[in-house]
Each structure stands twice: as C-alpha cells, then as structure tokens.
C-alpha cells in the first residue's frame, strides 16, 4: 500500500497567465501521519495539492511518485463537488468507474453511509444535504476507493465547529488505517490538532517543512513564527 512513496517535487513551477503561482518548489514526502500544508491565503497551498494530485499542469520541473497509480490517490475540494444524484449514487460512483461487482458496491456504500451518519438517507438527493453533510459525503466518496493518499483542500473552511470536529475525527481514523492524509489549512488550531508533519508556504514557495511538534515549538523561519502568532505575513 505504501509503495507509492516517496513523492518528490523537483523545481516545480506553476504559472497562470504569466503570473507565478508557485515555485520553484522542491519537496519530498514520505510515509507517515497527517501532513498539513499551511500558509496565508494566496500562498499556493491549493495549487501545491492540485499539482501533487495531478490535476494542475506544471510549467517547469517534475513530480515523481515512487509508483504511479492515479487511482490510488483521492482529492477532497474546499467546496464539495456534489453530483446531481442520490447520496447512495454519489458514493457508488467511484466504484462503478472501477467496475466493481454490485454486491461489493452496495456493501461499501452502506458502510460509508452509516459511517458518516446518513443512515436512511441513501435515496435522498445529495443536493438536499447541509454544508457539513455534503463535505462528509465528499470525504466518504474519496475514501471509498481506499486510497493510499488523500489530499484535502481546506475541507473545513466553510463549516461550523461541530462539523469540523466530525471531519477531523474521520481524518484521524483514516490516518490510523494507513492512508497518508495531506491537507491544506490556514487554521492553526486545526493544524495543531491534526498535524504530524507540516509544510509552510508563503508567496508560492515552501518556507518550512518538518515534524509538526518541533516546528510549532521552534519555528525555523521568522515568517512561520509570525504566522503562528496570527500576524500578517507577506
């Protein structure tokens, strides 16, 4: 399962309409617990995750997985993309793409419906769910394929405290099962609760990486120290 690591980014640069979005970025990610990508708005967190997941084109550099298997990583977007289908069909969709047997799909979907607390709502149109329920559904849909790596782009940005805690609990359970969670956030509290490793980004560049506890206790850069204090960093 962990044969995909390390993930290596060499001198990766992304530009949009001539404007530098991230780069050059050099980063190596190995196995481990939740990795939290932090940084202020516009620092390039989302782009970095999208680049790693392969949904964003790079203009220079290279990205190498130890073993390339696009179906082995999943992505949860900041605004959950909910398909115009029922809750059941939303969850079944990734498995149908893999042409899994009907029984297996049904079992997996029912398991996840229970897990995210949407029992008896399998036939409900997913568009009728609340914001928190939608994000949990999007997370379950990403996890139903049992990915080795799960990317999350500020999944709790628009959620209240309760929904945020529920998502965090799911992520912690996921990390325990061996899925590498790589998540972006600018919420320091959430980062402290979840992170085992951190990547701090600023102005499209990686400013600090390493073990979360030591980074929080002894930041290597003045910018990360300022970000932790809640100061405005540019």
């Amino acid at each position: 399962m962990t044969g995909m690591f390390p993930l290596t980014l060499n001198q990766v640069v992304v530009r949009r309409r001539g404007r530098l979005v991230i780069g050059p970025v050099d980063l190596t990610i190995g196995q481990g617990g939740p990795l939290i990508v932090m940084g202020p708005n516009g620092s390039g967190k989302t782009t970095l995750l999208r680049v790693m997941h392969g949904v964003e084109r790079i203009n220079a550099g290279s990205i190498n997985w130890a073993r390339e298997h696009p179906e082995r990583h999943a992505f949860v977007f900041q605004s959950p993309i909910i398909m115009r289908r029922s809750v059941f069909e939303n969850l079944a969709y990734p498995l149908r793409l893999l042409r899994r047997p009907k029984d297996e799909i049904s079992d997996a979907v029912n398991h996840w419906i229970t897990r995210i607390g949407l029992e008896n709502r399998g036939t409900t149109s997913a568009s009728r769910l609340s914001g928190g329920e939608r994000q949990k559904l999007a997370l379950a849909r990403a996890l139903i394929r049992k990915p080795d790596v799960l990317f999350l782009d500020e999944p709790c940005a628009n959620l209240d405290g309760r929904a945020t805690r529920e998502i965090e609990a799911l992520l912690q359970e996921t990390a325990v099962t061996g899925t590498r969670v790589i998540m972006s956030t600018h919420d320091m509290g959430q980062a402290r609760r979840l992170a085992q490793e951190i990547v701090f980004m600023l102005g499209g560049k990686v400013h600090e990486t390493g073990d979360a506890q030591s980074a929080f206790a002894n930041p290597k850069t003045a910018e990360f120290a300022a970000f932790q204090r809640g100061d405005i960093v540019t």
Binding site: H53, V55, P70, E71, A74, F75, F77, I81, M83, R84, R85, S86, Y93, P94, L97, T123, T124, S125
Partner: protein, 261 residues
Amino acid sequence: MRRFLLVFFVKKLNLYLSGSKGKCGTFMFELIEGLKAAFRLVITFDPELWEISLRSLRVTLTALLIASLIAMPLGTYLAVQRFRYRRFVIAIINALMGLPPVVVGLIVYILLSRSGPFGVFNLLFTPTAMIIAQVVIITPLIASIAHQAMRELWAEYHDLLISLNTTKAQRIRTLIWDGRRNLLTAALAGFGRAIGEVGAIMIVGGNIDNVTRVLTTAIALETGKGDFALALGLGFVLIGIAVVVNLAIHALSRTEREGRW
C-alpha cells in the same frame, strides 16, 4: 405621459371594436366553431383525425429520437473536449438553429428527388423524408441547448471527474446522465419545433392523404379550402398534443428532482 398613452390606446381599441363588430363577430364565431369542431372530432374518435395525429406524433417523435441521439452526445462532447476549431463548430451549430425550414425542405427535396444523390432510395413523399427534414431542422437546436447545459455542468464537475481519473467516454456518459433534466428540456424544445413544422415537410412529404398528411399540413390544406372551423379544430388538437407532451415532461422532471429516477 404613461397615462396619456393608456387613454389613447383604450380610445383606439374602442374605435376599432365599434367599427369592426362584424369582423370581430365572424372571428369569434369561427373560433367557437373551431372549438366545437375540435371537441366533436376528439370525442367521436374521428378516424381521420386520429390517423393524422398519430402520424404527426410518429414522425415527430422518430425525428426527435434520432436528433437527440446525434445532438446530445455532440453537445456534451463540445462541452468536454477542447480542439482547434471548437468555437467555430459551436458558432456553426448556433447559426444552424435559425435555418429556414423551407430551405431545409428544398435541400432535402433536391437530395431525395430522383435526379438527386439519394434518389435511388425512393424516399421523396414518404414519412421518412419528413423525418429526415425534421432531423436536419431540430438537431442544431437540441445540440445548442444541450451544449449550453452541459457546459455549465462540466464547469461544476470538472475537478471531480479529472480527479477521479475518468476517461472521455466516462465523462460524457456521466454528464449526460446527471444533466438529463436539462437534456429533456432541450428535447422538449426540439419537439415543439418539429411538431409545429409545416414548410419543410410540406415540400418533402407532399401532404398526401393517408400517407404523409400530418396535423400542420392538414391545417394548411383546410385553411386553403376555406374550412376554417376544421382547420381551427385541427389546430386545437395540435396545441393539445403539445400541451400534453409538455406536461408529461414536466411531470417526469418533477419525479427526477425528487430523486425517483
């Protein structure tokens, strides 16, 4: 100013009605007679009316099915796929929406006539020729509406479907299924255009009794003969069919919204 215009309009209307009571009375008489004729034709199960109505439906629904099978995947493909002349193709499809049906009829006539390239198939003045003409008329309309709807859905689903590493075919299938309500609307627009079409099918069908006569061509014929009551009667039946189909599709859309299919 607005008040002045309103008074002016009311005065003019009164003047018109008082001066043309005879014309207005004739019109109302014909309208009522038309309604009566329609009612009589329907409740007596008039065989000719049923035959014409069923032929109208058969021709239109067949054309709609064929046009939908071409236009919906085409509209979706144009939403999903980027290629060099994509914008040009979209512009052409949009332009073809305004094709004059008479011109389409003329072109199909030339193609299917004995001296034309498809003359060997002997299709002129058959329901098949009418279906071909209707397909040509409504395909761009359905493709254009489908493309608009699918473009919006693709913008919504883009990241998810790319993230799930889907193939082009899987993306198109997913968009068609999830956008089925919008596609139903596109089909409805195509149906409305096809069922009311008269120019092209008159040319390629010939309005032959018991063979190619449909509601619209029958209305044109009866109007020409001066039988306004029957023409109006047929017209009301045509409107009735359009309303019933619209209501059926509306009901289908509602059940879809409720997640029943």
